[in-house]
Amino acid sequence: MIHIDLTDQPIAVADALRSVEADGAGAINTFIGTVRNQSTGRAVIRLEYEAYDSMALHQLRKVAEQAVAQWPMLQKVTVIHRKGTLHIGDVAVVVAVSTPHRAESFAACQYIIDTLKQVVTIWKKEFYQDGDVWVAAHP
């Protein structure tokens, strides 16, 4: 019911969507995060995700479990996060959830991506023409 992955290979988005299909679930909401060509006004060339793997996997599962506790109608949840070097347009994260009714699919998917960004031990370094920055590291 909960599928979690952290991978250095390209994320197969179509497979992630299929993984949450369920005959009792009429609503599937999916959030896909991709690498943008700019960040706070600077042109991004590539980025690197570093992960504390064991803790990231543990925390991802906890976030998904919290979502299921909050929205018991959740049928299936898939969260896949990429690590390593990514280029413009590459998929960094996919969250997919299925529910019988649509409002809960939006709420649960948004809860998972919002919470993931707060607690999951993954770090993004953006590379520009003239330097690089660990995102969110400094105030």
Binding site: E50, A51, M55, A56, H81, V93, T121, I122, W123, A137
Partner: protein, 80 residues
């Protein structure tokens, strides 16, 4: 006691290595460890946040650390 600390992201860069071995008094807390590391690496104090993780969970300030624990320093996360 002897603690092995895993470092990630900008914390790894500030310290200059991916793990750190330090000696600490028995019963050292997460807060105490952070104070010790801030003293050794002042650049850590400039981060937006810095947490201690014990066995894959975020540790409270007063969580006591043990030699066998998997301890990590968690600078501001930025996944997604």
């Amino acid at each position: 006691m002897h603690l092995n600390i895993a470092l990630f992201g900008i914390a790894r860069e500030i310290v200059g290595q991916p793990t750190l071995e330090i000696d600490a008094p028995a019963g050292q807390s997460a807060r105490g460890l952070l104070a010790e590391l801030h003293a050794r690496y002042p650049a850590l104090a400039a981060l937006s946040s810095l947490a201690v993780a014990v066995n894959n969970e975020y540790a409270a300030d007063d969580t006591p650390l043990h030699e066998r624990d998997e301890i990590a320093l968690i600078p501001p996360v930025s996944g997604g």
